[in-house]
Symmetry: C2
Amino acid sequence: MGTVVVGYVPKPEGEAALTAAIAEAKLRSSSLVVVNSHRGGESFDAEKSAKAEAELDAVRKQVEASGVEFEVRQLVRGFEPAEDLIGIAESVGAELIVIGLRRRTPVGKLILGSNAQRILLDAHCPVLAVKSD
Amino acid sequence: MGTVVVGYVPKPEGEAALTAAIAEAKLRSSSLVVVNSHRGGESFDAEKSAKAEAELDAVRKQVEASGVEFEVRQLVRGFEPAEDLIGIAESVGAELIVIGLRRRTPVGKLILGSNAQRILLDAHCPVLAVKSD
């Protein structure tokens, strides 16, 4: 069974990536690894931690409803999210990474952030880039 | 029936994109549109034109062997390849665009060229980015 890895953040681009990744995992009869990376440190207090946990509960419910086999990996540490995603994708032998491209508010213009660029360039497998509506 | 659109150039990244696009079209039971853009002008002489035609014949044979329904669109004109690809993807209501990321010789380091960036940001559908081996 193959594995699709998706980078999830509780933002429109993260939701778009998750929805696309669930569809891709179903299509390929693959399992899904949802990766959620936070920078830790002082700014990540108990309240934020509880909020993050609630968001991931919603993610679990969404993937469960799809019938796709999955796991969620929440990483709170000093690495850049790109490194986490690439490292996990490599360790599970991912066939595909799904990422969301973020829109720069308020005009909604898209930018290719450094994390997205890094994943596109450094990932060892194909990368599917999606946008929020 | 959905449509997958792939940007093809007769280089390792183009071959990687074509191979991935054929697999994606099969997986999705979609048809495939292979887009090959050239800048025209004086540097595109009869010899180069014949070479390009021979390359596209090889592409046709490869896709035919896969059993995927397809068409090849060769564009020789002044637009940037990114514009051609995005325009065609939009006109056929593509569900997916596949592009190859090129390696900068001689060290093989990858770069995100302006065409790739443009397609990733401006495409109206998900973009699958693949690399040559």
